[in-house]
Every structure is written in structure tokens, then in C-alpha cells.
């Protein structure tokens, strides 16, 4: 997992500004926070969802419910993909029915993770809407999925990797482009 870093494309302050803007966009588009829930895709999407929740609270003064999904059991590549760690638990401490779900992930790439996450959310109930918020959109979509809120568009080659690092898990906040090992 030690890929060679080619460039740092977002630093901690850039990430924070992007999340602040996304928080405002979520509020503007949904006209407030009623019926909104945030759901992060584990593991880094979970951290970003919590940060968005904190930002929304500081803007509106109210908590928005925040949950996290582990999509391992919903992946479409379980035949060929070896996860490098044991799956984690999905934690949705609220009912998603009749809610506007803001799905949060670090990087939008093929769209397959978002597809798996949408399938998993639908198994829990019938939300009125699911919107997708990502810190980085790097292109190369394989499914008809688009993000409603994007922190930064980073056109990349499929030979590269775009890695989002968050201080809760990776010591510091940054987004880097790295040489793929494959």
C-alpha cells in the first residue's frame, strides 16, 4: 500500500474550505436541515460525513443525524476482489424512510461504491431522495452516477491513484495523486 506520491492536490485548508462550501450547498439546495441525514461510506467517507455534520451544526445550530455504511457485502466484485481487512459494521442509528439521505464518500471514481451504497440504503427503508457528496471526483465513471456536491474535480489517469488522507486515520489531512502499484 506504499504507492509513490506524485503530487499533493489538496492540503488541509483546501479540504476544509471544500467541505464548508459543500455544507452550505447542502443547506441551500435542501432549504435547511429538516429530514436530512448524512451517511458516510466507510472508512474515510464516515470521517468526512462527521465533519460535514459538524459544519452544518455550526451554520444552522442543530444536529443532523450521521451514520456510516460498510458496503463490503454489497460489492459487485466479491468474486475477484480481496479486501485487505475484515469488514466493519454498518451503523445507521435512525430510520432512513422519508429522509433525504446525503451519501458521503471521499473519491468518486467508477461509481460502483456509490451503487453498492445505494443498494444497501434501500434495504433499510425508502428515503425520499439520495444525494451524493464527494470530496474528489476523478472521472472514469462506469455507471450512470453523478455527484450532487463535489469538493474538487481532479482529472486523473486510470494508472494513477487518488488518495484522500484524513488526520483521524492517516495522521494528516491531504489529497494526493500517486502512482498505482498495479
Amino acid at each position: 500500500m506504499f504507492s509513490k506520491v506524485k503530487a499533493v492536490v489538496m492540503e488541509a485548508r483546501d479540504m476544509d474550505r471544500a467541505l464548508t462550501r459543500i455544507a452550505h450547498e447542502i443547506l441551500e439546495r435542501n432549504k435547511g436541515i429538516s429530514d436530512i441525514v448524512l451517511i458516510g461510506i466507510k472508512s474515510r467517507g464516515e470521517v468526512l460525513a462527521e465533519r460535514l455534520a459538524a459544519k452544518i451544526k455550526s451554520i444552522e445550530g442543530h444536529e443532523v443525524p450521521c451514520g456510516a455504511l460498510d458496503i463490503t457485502f454489497y460489492r459487485d466484485d466479491t468474486d475477484t476482489h480481496q479486501p485487505d481487512k475484515a469488514p466493519e459494521q454498518t451503523e445507521l442509528p435512525f430510520d432512513v424512510s422519508q429522509k433525504k439521505v446525503i451519501l458521503v464518500d471521499d473519491v468518486l471514481y467508477t461509481g460502483r461504491s456509490a451503487r453498492a451504497a445505494i443498494d444497501e440504503i434501500i434495504d433499510f427503508g425508502r428515503p425520499t431522495a439520495i444525494q451524493l457528496a464527494v470530496l474528489v471526483d476523478r472521472g472514469h465513471r462506469e455507471f450512470p452516477i453523478h455527484a450532487d456536491y463535489v469538493g474538487k474535480n481532479i482529472p486523473s489517469s486510470s494508472k494513477e491513484e487518488v488518495l484522500v488522507r484524513v488526520k483521524e486515520r492517516d495522521e494528516k489531512d491531504e489529497v494526493v495523486i500517486a502512482e498505482s502499484e498495479k
Partner: protein
């Protein structure tokens, strides 16, 4: 991360890392069973055959539920209604099943070693659901998950297994697994119910229940297989019960926060009193709940790789 073998035949052949992976994965699957839609698509399109050649309720139901919650398709093949009663050999039955392209075979058989024999003859995943007096790996795993949840960790716990060790595949799986995970294991039984050379497995041997229970964190009561009495392994059930039954009174010798486990089915009043089985120290119902989660984890981790590992 995955398991090395395509099969799960024994705990003896698992490494502590593999046991840890199964337990961690099982913890995640526990959450699935609390949802309103208790199903994930992880094994969609796979066929799991439950091949039980010995009576079983909880293990079979637990495996069936586990496979269903993973969206697998399930076939039940039981002795009484299968061609085995017409004289078909086990191997021919396996070949027939294999020709119908099954993915996993869950086997329970009264003879030790049958799952291994079948595993060597098929490309399908074979999971041992109890073979003779040999091993019952998923039971051992669900017991370890229960201990881990109740006590925080397995390492350093003193686990005392009481009862018919000789004829217990549950005891063997637990002894192997618990020791790999760093627990101290004691066994307690009359000498006639202890296999020769049990000390070589690294366990402490006791014949006196009160002494065995001293400083015990986990009291593991085995089912007394009542049919053994016919072989004169102990004089009467009454005498066995007086010496080895775990009652509220005897339990006082264990640690204050000790938990009591039993693999079921229980003979209430024989190896365990109802007071203990239904008492505050009992985690027997937790064991059953964890059984489904552990079997989901095992089925999921052994589902096999069709393509190249591209990590």
C-alpha cells in the same frame, strides 16, 4: 485478507490470525441480523448444500439462516430422505451433488474425518458441521466470539470445560482455538470420560469440580451424552450429577463475574441446573445468536475466488 484453505475442517489447522479474521467478520455480520431486512447480497447466486447425516436442529437451522441471510440458495440433504438409504455411497452422493454445480457443502457426519475425505474429492468448499468425536469448528468459533464479547478478550482467560471430553468434538475445537488465542484451558471430568493423553493438548486436568472452578472466568458445560451410561463409563446419572453438575452452589467457586456456556441441547438437572442455565451468569442464548453470525462469516470468507487476486 482471506483464509488459506478452501475448506473449514478443523480449528486445529487455523492460525490465530485467521481465527481473528473470522471473529471480526462475524461481529460485522451480527449487525445484519438486527436490521428489518436481514439480508445482504454477498452470496447471491451461490448454492450451499446442507448435508446432515446425524440429527441436528440448532446447527442446521443456524447454517440455513446464515446462508439465507447472505442470499445464497440452499439445499437440504438428510439421510432419511436421501439415496444413502438405498445404498448409495457417500462419495457417489457427493459426485451427484457436484455434477449439479454446488459451491459449498456443509457436512455433519457421525464418523470423524468424513468432511476431510469429501473436501479432498471436490472443488467445492467443505465446511465441517461436526464429525464424530473429532471437531466442530463453527461451534468453537461461536464460543470464542461469545467469550470475546463478554470478557473483552480471549487472551488470559481461564476456561474450564466440564463433562464428557472423550466424546466431545466441541471440547476439541474449543481447546485448540482457545489455546491459539491465548486462553488457559482446564478440563474437568471423571477419568473414564477423559481421553488418554489429554494433557498433551496442553490443558490442566481436574477430577474435582470445585477445585477446577477456582479462579475460572468461563465455565463451559458439555452435554452429558446419556447413551454413554450404557457403556458403564459412569455408574449412574444421579452420581455423575452429584459430582459434576454445575449448580448455583458450585458456581460460587468460580470468579464472581464468571460466565456459563453450554453448546446445547441441555440436560437440565444433569450437567447443569436450571438455576444456572437461566441465571444471570448464563450466556447460552448469546451463543446461539453468535452462531448465525459466525456461520455467515465462514460462508462469506470461504466463498472462493473466481478470478485473480487483484487486491
Amino acid at each position: 485478507m482471506s483464509l488459506k484453505s478452501k475448506d473449514l475442517l478443523t480449528i486445529e489447522e487455523l492460525s490465530s490470525t485467521e481465527i481473528q479474521l473470522i471473529l471480526d467478520t462475524a461481529s460485522s455480520f451480527k449487525e445484519v441480523s438486527t436490521r428489518s431486512v436481514k439480508k445482504v447480497p454477498a452470496l447471491r447466486g451461490r448454492t450451499v448444500v446442507l448435508f446432515f447425516q446425524e440429527p441436528s436442529t440448532r446447527t442446521r437451522v443456524s447454517f440455513e439462516l446464515a446462508a439465507k441471510r447472505l442470499s445464497a440458495d440452499i439445499l437440504n440433504v438428510q439421510t432419511a430422505s436421501s439415496s444413502l438409504v438405498k445404498g448409495e455411497t457417500l462419495i457417489d452422493t457427493l459426485k451427484t451433488l457436484e455434477s449439479m454445480t454446488i459451491d459449498a457443502l456443509v457436512v455433519r457426519h457421525k464418523c470423524s474425518g468424513v468432511p476431510l475425505m469429501l473436501a479432498n474429492m471436490t472443488n467445492a468448499t467443505v465446511i465441517n458441521a461436526g464429525d464424530g468425536f473429532h471437531e466442530h469448528p463453527t461451534q468453537g468459533l461461536l464460543d470464542m466470539l461469545t467469550i470475546k464479547e463478554q470478557k473483552g478478550k480471549i487472551e488470559g482467560q481461564t476456561v474450564t470445560i466440564i463433562g464428557d471430553i472423550t466424546h466431545s468434538r466441541v471440547a476439541r475445537s474449543n481447546i485448540h482455538g482457545l489455546q491459539k488465542m491465548g486462553a488457559k484451558v482446564r478440563v474437568c471430568a471423571p477419568p473414564t470420560l477423559l481421553p488418554a493423553g489429554i494433557e498433551k493438548m496442553g490443558v490442566e486436568v481436574y477430577h474435582d469440580l470445585d477445585k477446577a472452578l477456582k479462579d475460572t472466568d468461563v465455565v463451559y458445560v458439555l452435554r452429558l451424552q446419556l447413551e454413554r451410561q450404557k457403556k458403564n463409563l459412569f455408574p449412574t446419572i444421579r452420581e455423575y450429577s452429584q459430582l459434576y453438575s454445575v449448580t448455583s452452589e458450585r458456581l460460587k467457586h468460580a470468579k464472581k463475574d464468571a460466565i456459563v456456556m453450554h453448546p446445547g441441547p441441555m440436560n437440565r438437572g444433569v450437567e447443569i441446573s436450571s438455576g444456572v442455565a437461566d441465571g444471570p451468569a448464563s450466556v447460552i442464548d448469546e451463543q446461539v445468536t453468535n452462531g448465525v453470525a459466525v456461520r455467515m462469516a465462514v460462508l462469506y470468507l470461504l466463498k472462493g475466488e473466481k478470478g485473480e487476486n487483484n487486491g
